[in-house]
């Protein structure tokens, strides 16, 4: 196999490192951001930009290495795009629900009556398994 042209070398390296860096920063954000709702944003970065960067890098690399365009890599981006919202929607809805029950400062139920949910009373929640908030 012939040596890799420098530009490709550079491009792939750059993309890979950039993608990894974004993922790292996003994970850092996950750790440092102050509240749950703000923390929901960084994973989207991993799913999008970081993922794309690395996919492009892989695409470029394998195109060069195998001689054919590995378009199937981009299926990953597609699937991630489909699946990430499912988790996010559930997770945010759960977080809101729990926040409201805990009496935290979040907007009230969009479709509910004026009556708010009763605040969580004592330690009677099934989700006690999960964690103490």
């Amino acid at each position: 196999m012939s040596a890799m042209p420098l530009w490709l070398d550079l491009l792939v390296s750059l993309l890979v490192v950039a993608g990894a860096a974004i993922a790292l920063i996003a994970s850092m954000g996950l750790l440092t951001l102050p509240s749950f709702f703000t923390r929901t944003h960084p994973p989207a970065m991993i799913a999008t930009l970081a993922c794309w960067c690395i996919l492009h890098a892989a695409f470029a690399y394998f195109w060069w290495a195998t001689g054919s365009a590995p378009l199937r890599l981009y299926l990953i981006a597609f699937f991630v795009a489909i699946t990430v919202p499912i988790t996010s929607v559930f997770l945010l809805r759960a977080a809101l629900f729990r926040a409201r029950r805990a009496g935290a400062d979040v907007p009230p139920n969009l479709s509910g009556h004026a009556r708010a949910l009763p605040p969580q009373a004592g330690a009677s929640g099934q989700e006690q398994h999960a964690a103490r908030d």
Binding site: M1, S2, A3, M4, L6, L8, D9, L10, V12, S13, L14, V16, V17, A20, A21, A23, L24, A26, S27, M28, L30, L31, F36, R39, T40, P42, P43, I46, A47, C51, I54, L55, A57, A58, Y61, F62, A65, T66, P70, R72, L73, L75, I76, F79, V80, T83, V84, I86, T87, F90, L91, A94, A95, F97, R98, Q126, E127, A130, A131, D133
Partner: protein, 93 residues
């Protein structure tokens, strides 16, 4: 691997992704809420997926690609189920 920069860049990237996973783990451990943990698990899966992709490049082999695809297609199921459990108290109603 017959390139100059990649042999350095790829381990670096992998290290960074592994560290990213470690950070996710720290979030899991620090909580404060259950949803934080689920979120962090989800992020961990994504990081792992990226790690697999980088490994593919590193080894110049596409046989590992399907693993990344699998995480992309199914990885959400676990975190969704966890989230639904938090929301409804049961996974399948």
């Amino acid at each position: 691997m017959n390139a100059n920069i990649l042999p350095w860049a790829l381990p670096l990237a992998m290290g960074m992704l592994a560290l990213a996973m470690a950070l996710c783990l720290m979030r899991i451990l620090r909580r404060p809420t259950a949803q934080d943990r689920i979120l962090a698990l989800d992020a961990m899966y994504l990081n792992a997926m990226l790690l697999v992709l980088v490994l593919c490049i590193y080894w110049g082999s596409t046989v590992y690609f399907e693993a990344a695809l699998l995480i992309a297609v199914l990885g959400f199921a676990a975190s969704t189920a966890l989230a639904k459990f938090l929301l409804r108290g049961e996974v399948i109603e």
